[in-house]
Every structure is written in C-alpha cells, then in structure tokens.
Amino acid sequence: MLDAYHISLLTVMGISVTFALSLNLITGFCGQISLGHAAFLGIGAYGAALLSKAGLPVPLGLAAGALLAGAIGAVVGLTSLRVRHDFLAITTMGVGFLFLGIVRQQDALGGEMGVSGFPGTGLDKEGFMVLVLAVAAATAAFSLYLKKSWLGFAFDAVAEDEDTARLLGVDVARFKLAAFAMGCAIAGLAGGLYAHNVRFIDPDSFGFVESITVLSMVVIGGIGSVWGVIVAAAGLSVLPLWIQFIEDYKLLIYGGLLFAVMRFSPGGLAGAVAAVARRGRTEP
C-alpha cells in the first residue's frame, strides 16, 4: 500500500484541491476575482485550532471554522457589490493584509507566535488522508453539481456580464454574496484540515503569497473548469517537493511556469486540452 510519504503528499494535495476549488466557486463560476483568499484558509485554520484547543470536539471545530470563514466571506462579498474587477482584486488583497495585521497583534490568537499544541483529530495518517480526500471529492462533486444547477447558471450570468444579468432580473447581489459565502466556507474547511495536518499555524502561512498561489492554481487549471483546477492544484501543491533535485531553480521554474501558461495558454490546462482535442477532431 501507500507509504507514509505518499500519504502526506496526497494529504497536501487534497487540502490544496479543496482550497483551489473553493476559490474557483467565487472566481471561476461567479467571476469575482480575489487576491486575499488565503485569509479564509487562515480563518478556518485559526477557528479549528483554537476551538479544539478550547476543548471543543474536532469536527465541531472544523465546522465552526468553516462557518466563521463563510460568514466573514459574505461580509467581504459585500465589497464586491461596491467595486468590480481590478478594484475588487485590490480590495480583497487588502482584506488579506488586514486579516494578517489583526492576527499578528492579538495575543489571544497566538499573535506572532502562532498556535500549536492543540489536540489532534485522533485519526492516524491514513485515516486523516481519507478524510481530506473525501472532503476534496465532495467539494469537487458539489462544484460539478453546482455548475449544472440553476444557481450555476445564475453565477454564469453574473460572471459573463453583470449589468445584462441585472437587466434580466437576476438578483446579482444575492448571487455574489452566495458565491462568496460558499467559497469562503469551503476555504475555511480546507484551513481547518490544514491546521490539523501541519499541527502548527502562524500568520505567515496565510499571507499574500498563499493567496497568489491558490489563484494561480485556479487560473493555470483553467478558470471555472473543475477538472482543470483539480489537476492544477494537485500538481502545483507538490511541485516544489517533486523538483527538489533541481533545488536552486525551483521557484524560478514555478514562476516561469505561471508566466508561460498565461502567455501561451491563457485558458489554462483546460483550455490547452480543449484546443488539442479540437485539433484532433479536425485532423483527418
């Protein structure tokens, strides 16, 4: 069977996939860009860690972290009613920095020292991996279902052209808030799992770089494409570990890859696959 190293890799992948899919709901489905999504990973992580430290059972801590992230996400979603596109990108980025700024200064939240020594899930590594993969699979299934549902169509309408959608009588504000609430709640859940996997959380783990990383996963996978995002998140999350043997050039390759995908296949992986498939069909 799987050895412990691959179990830990799959766990990392599963958390990243869940996290990336949660952003895909907001950015991919509903067209609202976010540069501060890591804050919600952080809210879920801090919620889960602190509540289980306070003695709450782990599942309750995870759920509370997710709910909290969803609730704050809905509030942040309110900003998307006021500003759009690039302005929204910067506003959400600001939210990310505010989150960090606040956590850093609150001793009750562990401040700079972070939080550790909270009770574990009680699961062994394999069991935890199964839990993580189950959450990832459920998120993927939910995403696929959502895409086909009326809610998905409404999101699509908002993403395509929100003014037209509004004219057609779509309650744009409600759908935007729904997307933010759902996406952020799932991010919070991913954060809770992250906390229980790493067993130590500090503000730096939920910073701007992390927000950029998850956005990159979504965009490289192909914005809005569930399968593309899954593949990209799984791949990118363990890429730095795979390419250990080229040590010095690792981040360079990561940055270069981000750039290259955008430059040559802006539809991401999903776009590239579709293009290849099209070519295959037209060739005799």
């Binding site: 412990a4 190293y5 790493v198 795979w242």
Partner: protein, 383 residues
C-alpha cells in the same frame, strides 16, 4: 485517475533521486530541512554548509563506528506546509537516523511534530520558538530560546553596561517578540526603565519614523531585535538620525553582512550570540577557519548552529553504537560536547544549556566583549 497519474510521476521522480544520489549500503543518513530558495535562503545555505562541514570532518575521522555519514538535505522554503511532507520523506523514504533543522521556527515546529510522532530524534539548529521542543522528548534544540537570550540582554544592558533608560524595538515575529519579552521581564531587576517600545515588520527597511521618535525618547540604550538585514539599515539610520545610544542586538545580527550594511554605524554595537570570534577553544577556531575555506564567506551564528546540530547528532550516533532511535535519543539527551558554540548539554525538555557570548563590533569585525554564564539567569525552560 488523476491521483494515480500524479503518484506515478512522483514515484518516477523519487526513483530518479535515488539513482542520482547513489546512496551506498553502509552509510548512515542524517536528514536536514533548510530553506534553499525564497526569502530565507541565505540562512538556510549557511546552516547547510555548516552541517556539511561537520559531516565531512566526522567522515575524515572514520565516520560513525566505521560507517560513513551522508547528509540528506531538502529545501523547505521555511514554510511549515512544505516541512511536513519533507520530514515524512526523510523519515520514511530516506530512513534517516536523526533529523536536524536548519530552518526558521514555523517550518521547524511543523517538522518537529512529524519526527516526534515517528519516534525519530530531531535537533533544531537555530529556531527559537518555545513550542519547538514542547513537541516531545525526541526533539532538541542547540539554540538558546528567545526569552533566555532576552534576559541575558537585560543583564548586559543594566548590570554590565550600567544603562538606565531603554527603548525596545521589536521585530514582529516569534524571534523578535520572544527576545523582547525576555528583556522586558528582567529589565527592572537590573535597574532599567523601558521608556518606549516600537514594532516593525520583517519586511521593513525604512525606519525613519521610529528613529525620529527615539531621538525624542532620548534613551541611553536601545534593545533592538532583528536580523542582519533589518538591523543593518536600522542601526545606520539610527546613527544618521543623530541617535548615539548604545545598541544591543542578538544573534540575528550575527553575520558579517550586518557590518557590510551598517559600515561605520555598526561600530560599538553589542550583541548576545553563540559564536565567539576570538575563541581560543580549538573546536571553535577550527570551525571558523574551515567554514570560511569551504563556504567562501565568514562563519556566523547560523553556520555555527548548523555545524553544532550535526555534530551533536554524530556524537550521539557514535555513542549509541547503533541507529536505534531510542538509543540515539538517549545519547543526545546525555550530550556533553564541546562544539563550535561552546560546551553544551541539554535539559529535560531538550533545551540547550550553554553560555551566552557577548560580541562587540570593533574595527569592522565582531570581537569578544564578555561572556554571560550565570546559570540561573540562563536556565532554559523545563516545560
């Protein structure tokens, strides 16, 4: 389907690694996680070269009971997220006998949990977060925790230098915060009044506003926590801004780069650290000379700590006579060696017991100022 494909690729990558590594059957492996890329790469590199030097020295002496030692290093980018799979890989795939961390606190803390759970001994070279050793009885640390070093700073300022009015400037991360906490805890005991406190983030290099305010505070000593890349600009801006108070730093300043950055402003800065440049102890002298030869730049605290952590691991492997994790752990716990950072042993929590070296910048280089060896003041936490 996807994960199978990914796993296949991962396995191929791992296989390639094994082939490239060409690991012999008779080698004993020591694992090391350290940042090799990203913002912390400079410290990670110095720690790795220090550890490599210790391994080379030991192999030249015949290794561990006839077996050669191999240092397996992976890049964790100082990120807790990366540290977990890396620690798992070192333990499960590379089957390392001991792990050492040449990384910062977050990544070290995350890795420590994995080592503890697997029952493999782990030594943190210079991560100062108090929780690292609280992971359990398999985790040790060769660096003095922040609070203890902060207390030493208070003694230095109040008792040894006779200063009365202090300003505390805190770098906002676990390192800076715990140092300042230790300083403030003991300041009053040594007759120091803390007249004001400021904080800055690790990304800050411009301290104009703080300098301006410090001038008004008019302290006779400034306890400023930071790393050479923040302290260099800070000290030079303090001096340029007309602040003449003595600056007391810590091991984060301990790099030739600090002097390169601050130039003349660095003169007279006093730091608490673990490497004595003017040491007459052969171990330390040899280390300083050989490190510079190997690395091409001068040894600093991080390098010395990496060297010490590896040396402790090797000494324990020799003493244990096997790679049985429990025996090695017990051997580490009973450590009593002279390392590059002086004579060291561990307490029940796995915290190091050693003297604090006080160095002063004179003529563009660190030199010995004094040594703090008060065992009560320097007693590391037991739990």
């Amino acid at each position: 389907m996807m994960s199978r494909l990914l796993k296949g690729t991962a396995l191929a990558a791992v296989a390639a690694l094994f082939l490239a590594g060409g690991a012999g059957a008779e080698t004993i492996k020591i694992g090391m996680n350290a940042p090799q890329t990203g913002f912390a790469a400079a410290d990670g590199k110095a720690a790795v070269i220090g550890a490599q030097l210790a391994v080379e020295q030991a192999n030249a002496e015949g290794g561990v009971n006839g077996n050669q030692i191999e240092l397996v290093v992976y890049d964790d980018q100082a990120a807790p997220k990366q540290a977990v799979p890396i620690a798992t890989k070192l333990i499960e795939q590379d089957k390392v006998a001991v792990g050492i961390s040449g990384s910062y606190s977050g990544a070290t803390r995350a890795a420590a949990g994995v080592y503890q759970a697997a029952g493999v001994p782990f030594i943190a070279a210079y991560a100062v977060h108090p929780d690292v050793t609280r992971s359990g009885d398999f985790v040790f640390r060769t660096a003095v925790v922040g609070e203890v070093q902060g207390r030493a700073g208070a003694m230095l300022a109040g008792k040894m230098l006779g200063k009365k009015r202090a300003v505390v400037i805190t770098l906002k991360n676990d390192f800076g915060v715990s140092l300042s906490a230790g300083f403030k805890e003991k300041a009053a005991d040594y007759g120091i009044t803390v007249v004001n406190e400021y904080e800055y983030s690790i990304k800050d290099r411009q301290f104009g506003p703080i300098v301006t305010k410090v001038k008004v505070d008019n302290p006779d000593v400034i306890y400023a926590t930071g790393y050479f890349f923040t302290a260099g600009p800070l000290v030079s801006q303090l001096r340029a801004g007309g602040v003449d108070a003595t600056v007391i730093g810590q091991e984060g300043y301990d790099s030739e780069k600090f002097i390169t950055i601050a130039k003349d402003a660095a003169e007279g800065v006093i730091i608490t650290t673990s490497l004595d440049r003017d040491s007459t102890v052969p171990e330390t002298k040899t280390f300083i000379a050989e490190f510079e030869k190997k690395a091409g730049f001068a040894a600093d605290m991080v390098a010395a700590s990496g060297h010490t952590a590896a040396k402790v691991a090797i000494a324990a492997l020799r003493k244990a006579g096997s790679t049985d994790p429990k025996a090695v752990r017990d051997a580490i716990a009973a450590t009593n060696v002279t390392a590059a950072i002086g004579d060291i042993s561990f307490n029940s929590l796995g915290e190091v017991r050693k003297n604090v070296q006080v160095q002063i910048v004179k003529g563009g280089a660190f030199h010995r100022h004094s040594v703090i060896s008060d065992p009560d003041l320097l007693a590391p936490p037991e739990k």
